[in-house]
Amino acid sequence: MQLNSDVLNRVEFLTGNAELASQLPCVPAMVPFDDRIVSFLNDVSKELLKDRAAKAFSDVVTFAFWIRKASVIRLKERFEAKDNALHLGKGVAFHIAPSNVPVNFAYSMVAGLLNGNANVVRVPSKDFPQVTMIVKAVNKALAAHKEMKPYVLLARYGRNKEINDLFSSVADVRIVWGGDRTIAELRNSPLPPRAGEITFADRYSLAVIDSDTYLTITDKARVAEDFYNDTFFSDQNACTSPRVIVWTGSKIEEAKRIFWDKEHKLVSQKYTFQSIQGVNKLTSSYLIAVAEPGVKVQQHEDNLIVRVSVPAVNEKLMDYRDNSGYFFEYDCKDILDIRALCDDKKCQTIAYIGDSHVLLPLILSGVKGIDRVVPMGKTMDFDLIWDGYNLPALLTRTVVMA
């Protein structure tokens, strides 16, 4: 089987070419964590870590460390199946990366690769410097790992159904980032009968902070940094960014005062404020005031952080969410008070300070949301279990030999 070259010629390949793409269906699947993959990724990591320009981009550096041999071996130990069956990549993984997160495409590609698949990845159309750096490192490493070339194709093209149709037609698994609308768009391109699909839909997240625990933490500056990384670093607009802050414990007022004071100082130093953001937050706070009687906009000296106290939380709240430093706050007596919010399938991550076990009754009540419970500062840490999906299980085939 060969792919339509007229369509392929309309794709800009940053890595690989139309010729390699046309051969995709014939590329043998590999065993997950094959030495060739581990060694190749380690070289990509080396290239990135010696790139001086990359040092300025913490997201690129984090990615580089994640694909180092030592890190990948740890993943291998965790995810290598211990079921006495054989495991192979599904075959061809077709990835649609989100348009406005620079390094996400690279994580998606690595997830596909580590699990033994040949990957074709649509990278963001926007010219992020991070994309350029990673592509450069991948291409350099491929020069020394020619056997890996058929497994890594990085493509750039606009919203084009014909191209989506083509890659979908040979996909054994399709991985779609970019939210509900992109998923809907890709669903117009049929997949083969046995192909699987992993979709990363629109999600939202929250934080649960135990005021008593917070007050005992000595390094509160560290907490402020952690919270910054979870929120402002991605304009508080990643699916993992807390939108609602749920306060528990006995010293909520005191904890809030110190927490927000420290956060505000940090945001003033680090965040690039855009003029329209203040207008947006004011608009959002008035809209929620109309929708939910009893909300109070907390006094703020400037527009960097706008907090709205809500008398109750439910999934409706999220229709009024905003970003770039706009938080709903709720003083929580009983963790089951937030059940309606967490029962929403859109609810993804809970970042916590305190004891995560207090969330158990909430999760075990059978909520449909909450896929991750992680310490504050770790919401963006990518893992092969992501967004409720066990990626190794979904990206491989199990061969039974009885």
């Binding site: 509900d180 947006n280 608009t283 909300v295 906009v297 000296e301």
Partner: protein, 362 residues
Amino acid sequence: MTFDEILSIPPYSLGREQKEKMLTERLVELTELHRRNCPEYAQMLDSINFDAASVHSYKELPFLPVRLFKELELKSVPHEEIVKTMTSSGTTGQAVSKIFLDRATSSNQQKTMVKIVSEFTGSSRMPMIIIDCPSVVKNRAMFSARGAGILGFSIFGAKKIYALDDDMKLDVAAVQEFLEKFKGQKILLFGFTFMIWQHFYKELLRLKDEGITFDLSGGVLIHGGGWKKLISEAVSHDEFHRRMKDACGLTHIHDYYGMVEQTGCIYMECECGHLHASVFSDVITRRPIDFSECEIGEKGIIQVVSAIPESYPGHSLLTEDEGVILGEDDCPCGRKGKYFKIDGRLKNAEIRGCSDTYAAKF
């Protein structure tokens, strides 16, 4: 304080202190009126624990972002009393503002506009050429900003023609006949800046090559709607004036700034090229970071207040325009009040995030 009392004040006659006192009294009253009569507005004020008793100046009053009028139907009178609903002219698919007018507010808008514009054109009515097509004002139940502007200014016209047909083609014969008929009289021309440029000025140029010319040296042109499209064609304010003069002898040209959310209180450009606030309204520039008031000469987000709106809570609004107050009470043209310029729209935020961005949210 009633609006009729304010209406008796000449539009550019009050100095800073007098105007502040008068506007504060009226705008605090309007804030309380809307709080009583518009439940949504009351909830907004409750959410910020607003207390009118603590207000010393209208500058301390809350302001509503104009976008709220696209998201909500805000009115302070019962539905039966609404005589007109004005809408902003958004492009297809975009949400439009909806502004609800009762008889009193609608009539006060018109009276205010007459007061303001008369200061620039004189109080007698003139033969008027509307540089637009007649279909814009056809649907009287729903007024678009363009239609509202035309109808608003039409009260200054004694005899009116539309210069363009519904295909936006200049009706040369009709305009020639009109000019012949009213030869020697002062003619009022009105239209939207970009329409004038695209469908009138460019056509005049073409006709000039064919030997057909128009003499509008005795006319006065009032235009509004913003400069965005002209700037994209690299046509500046001064260039626009020079080219209009070359094309048809027009020298009397006034831009104006205004919005459908505060119809009536328009800001006319004076002979010195400055936009002026009348006593019926004011402009405050605010710093994006904390909404504090800017100094004179400092660029900020434009807040507009108007003493008119009684049927909807739009007496204090935060626009998405940026501008600069150039001075107060000391424009060389002699008019009192603030004078300013507009620097265009705030940019949409560029934000990161996992969901792909499609067309802008608003």
